[in-house]
Symmetry: C2
Subunit: 343 residues, 2 copies
């Protein structure tokens, strides 16, 4: 069974790590259909204690690799990435670079995961700027939106790369043929947008992608396209806005409950649509957000990820390895050499 | 009663104009508490036919000013503003410039309203770039977000002006003392953001505004601040995303109804929280979005505005005149001369 894919998991990354993470590792390892092995990276003592708390005293169903340092959730990212050479993050990503594991999953400090991955794995050949891709719920299944936070300022060339990476990810992982790519902007016409999107529009029109032009803010949830391309500033604001809708809705319902007795008697029925909404809006459900464009597989999870989300992230990492997503991206970006010198 | 404020209303601006608009003009004029008079500007024949359809054959409760041309909702905005000198929009805004009316309301082509207002009324003294301000629902009442679409590319100086204008609007119209101003960005720390917000952060920190620093996408609905400042690209995308939430939620409910019989029997109870959500998310409820920074009062309504929304927009225009919002903005921007030469 040595040809099994090995996925490293950062035991120390997450709001309450290693709680939930160790449990996620167990869930993932015990999955009968698993075509991967989990390698848990982190403080061996704390992992051991968490295993005991979960009632697993004998051999756990995964390998443990010790790492002595921990990067905190609010630590300055670039500095932590540079200085903490023995953090679980650094150790895990180094193992991936050395080929000891095939992919890595972390729910830690997003900035630190990104910086360490860039530093350790490096850029994928042909990629100028890696991007974080996130799933958004839509009326037609999920859409992939990128970048959602890796690059606050972008050039048109970067948006083109995001489009290629998102399109390839969507065809191989979501199994959609010839994914429809939309450029997030503020008007449908090619002449509408900001300086960045106007140039990007031209690059995308001339590409081999299934580019459907500009899409607007209201097109995302409607599912007008499979891949939504934007800079990391806009993408991050839209993602966090979307994540906040659920609690805003609960706020509205609480207000309503205070006002209406009739409503109170039937309130339990609300749990059904709210559950679907929670599921649709909670991107942790999907497992995590891939950092596309680094020379390796790296999935970034939410700091509050449930064990199930951790398991899903491990499965996603394993699928990305198996589907050779990075090979396809390299291939897809070969054409883009013509873009050298573009704004 | 000649000291009554006169508000012009574009009869031809809106998806089904003059339907809804004429009705809104009647609603507004018949309001017993009205401290304004309505002047309806547009094609006299079509207005007359709409009045007849509404059963008003004798004298309508407002003045009608004829304008022979109509700007369509999808017409190229800048061209229409330049060429159609006898559009209802151009005629109305010219009347405002000449002091025959005190404010103007239009639910027409947003780009054309903006372009014509800039061309006809000009910039308010001290303002480099006017901005459209929109209300967003929050857990603590509405917040004012600007710019939501007038400026796709901004300089820090513009964001500073938006902050001053939004802050003054919020104190005089929403009657909030010392409004909390937040800069929309992708991290709370002053070092997080894009090139634009990093410089803007410094300008805002040094100002006399009640600046609370960066706010993120999830802070908007939470009501972390009263005024959210951003460039018109990000603001427009967030606004349109927010507007699309309601129909996405109806989609989720329909899916749920298909699946669950139990849910179906209690579905009518859902109308209560959904009604509050619709109200909270539908910015037409608030009447319209003021174009701040032009030398006059101009309210932009949604093309789908109901008669009630039109009435509310007229009331808002009248309040802006009465509260002398523009005078206060000029005063507030006097300090900003020190910004000359800033990026």
């Amino acid at each position: 069974m040595t040809d099994k894919i090995k996925i490293g998991l950062d035991a120390m990354g997450g709001d309450k790590a290693p709680v939930s993470i160790v449990e996620g590792a167990i869930l993932a390892s015990r999955d009968r259909k698993a075509d991967y092995e989990v390698v848990l990276v982190g403080d061996r003592g704390r992992i051991q204690r968490e295993l005991e708390r979960l009632g697993i005293s004998s051999a756990p169903p995964f390998e443990i690799v010790h790492a002595s340092e921990v990067i905190n959730m609010d630590e300055p990212a670039a500095e932590a990435a540079r200085k903490k050479k023995d953090s679980s993050l650094a150790v895990g990503l180094r193992m991936e670079k050395e080929g000891k594991i095939d992919g890595f999953v972390s729910g830690g400090n997003t900035g630190a995961v990104m910086a360490t991955a860039l530093l350790t794995l490096g850029h994928l050949q042909g990629v100028d700027r890696p991007a974080i891709a996130s799933y958004f719920p839509t009326e037609k299944g999920v859409a992939v939106v990128l970048d959602v936070g890796a690059n606050a300022d972008c050039k048109a060339r970067n948006l083109y790369e995001f489009a290629v990476m998102g399109s390839i990810y969507t065809s191989y992982i979501l199994k959609r043929e010839n994914p429809r790519v939309g450029l997030l902007s503020i008007g449908e016409e090619s002449t509408k947008g900001n300086e960045l999107t106007l140039v990007s529009y031209r690059l995308l029109s001339e590409s081999k992608l299934n580019f459907m032009g500009n899409v607007e803010g209201h097109d995302v949830l409607k599912g007008t396209c499979d891949v939504v391309v934007c800079d990391g500033f806009v993408g991050n604001i839209m993602l966090k806005f979307a994540e906040s809708i659920e609690s805003f809705f609960y706020f509205l319902i609480k207000e309503e409950l205070r006002r209406s007795i009739l409503f109170r008697t039937g309130a339990f029925l609300l749990k059904y649509p709210l559950r679907s909404m929670r599921k649709a809006l909670n991107y942790a459900e999907y497992g995590g957000a891939p950092l596309l464009g680094v020379d390796g597989v790296c999935i970034i999870c939410h700091g509050k990820s449930s064990p199930k989300a951790i398991k899903n992230a491990i499965k996603l990492a394993s699928r990305m390895v198996r589907e050779k997503v990075n090979e396809h991206i390299k291939e897809g970006l070969k054409d883009s050499n013509q873009l050298e010198g573009e704004k």
